[in-house]
């Protein structure tokens, strides 16, 4: 989910009106706030930057 959502965002945090984007990439009922694409998430035992394809932390 996160990879597809974050693939289309800018590289820096921007104004709210520019950080929200509807997505059909997941069954999420939310409007995703893309924010900073370098924000880390954890899945399983590894944490990473969504969309980079590799573990970072």
């Amino acid at each position: 989910m996160s990879e597809r959502i974050d693939a289309a965002v800018a590289s820096e945090p921007v104004a709210m009106s520019e950080t929200t984007a509807a997505t059909d990439a997941a069954p999420s009922p939310f409007t995703m706030v893309t924010g900073d694409p370098a924000a880390m998430v954890c899945e399983g035992d590894v944490c990473f930057i969504p969309g980079t394809g590799g573990a970072a932390d």
Binding site: M1, S2, I5, D6, P13, A15, M16, T19, T20, A26, P27, S28, P29, F30, T31, M32, V33, G35, D36, A39, M40, V41, C42, E43, G44, D45, V46, C47, P50, A55, A56, D57
Partner: protein, 238 residues
């Protein structure tokens, strides 16, 4: 949604506007280093709004990152990730150094040498018990600190009961809640809800059931979301 109530003494000119807090639902795991950092960033984002900060109601939801983790793992975090998961040890060291640095910037003193890797299922059950007692936020902070900075074992019932008592929960009631498994179904319900929402990773924040925020975003992103939600409420109330 904002609620309005007329002032009967001068109903034509005075309206008392009573606004409910903005709801923030957070899917998180105690063993997630970026969840604690994200918590601090959210708090920073709220604080940055100063007097304009809206009231918020925060609720934590369970997300078990690694259900296959043993309660008692004999070894360090590096050992776990290197041996149990097959990641190169030097790469693991780099990863932990990086997250430790980011945590420090958020005011958190991570100690991965002391950290005791464990299964967090019981900790999640305790968080649900704490929610029933109105102390979930206090316990969430206490569990994160215990795990990442104090090297406490948050997988064992005895240690969890001690931590529960430290935030004001009744120790006997906390022990009963954990030993009976009374909140196990609630934990699984949270995890199932995350799956239904397509949440694969944490931290994951939901504002007013409307905006989703994935990852340990900078404080300013949280400020922007809160400002947006508050503005939409104001617009709806006008």
């Amino acid at each position: 949604m904002p609620r309005t109530a007329g002032n009967t003494a001068s109903a034509a000119s005075v309206r008392l506007i009573v606004t409910s807090p903005i709801k923030i639902d957070i899917w998180s795991d105690i063993a997630c280093p970026w969840c604690y950092i994200g918590k601090r960033h959210l708090e920073g984002g709220i604080a940055a709004l100063g007097a304009d900060a809206p009231d918020v109601e925060i609720e934590y939801h369970s997300f078990e990152l690694a259900p296959d983790t043993p309660v008692d793992f004999e070894g360090s975090e590096v050992d776990f990730l290197a041996k149990h998961k097959g990641l190169p040890a030097d790469r693991v060291q780099q990863m932990l150094q990086h997250v430790t640095g980011v945590a420090a910037n958020a005011g958190l003193d991570y100690d991965f040498d002391a950290l005791q890797h464990t299964k967090t299922l019981k900790a999640h059950e305790l968080l649900h018990f704490a929610k029933s007692q109105g102390l979930q936020l206090e316990l969430s902070e206490r569990l994160f600190r215990a795990y990442f900075t104090e090297g406490r074992h948050v997988g064992r019932v005895d240690e969890l009961v001690e931590l529960a008592a430290e935030v004001g929960l009744d120790a006997d009631a906390a022990r009963e809640a954990l030993e009976s498994g009374r909140y196990a179904a609630a934990v699984q319900a949270d995890i199932a809800q995350a799956g239904a929402y397509g949440i694969n990773g944490v931290p994951f924040f939901v504002f007013e059931g409307k905006y989703g925020v994935s990852g340990a975003q900078p404080a300013e992103v949280f400020s922007q979301v809160l400002t947006q939600v508050a503005g939409e409420r104001d617009g709806a109330a006008a």
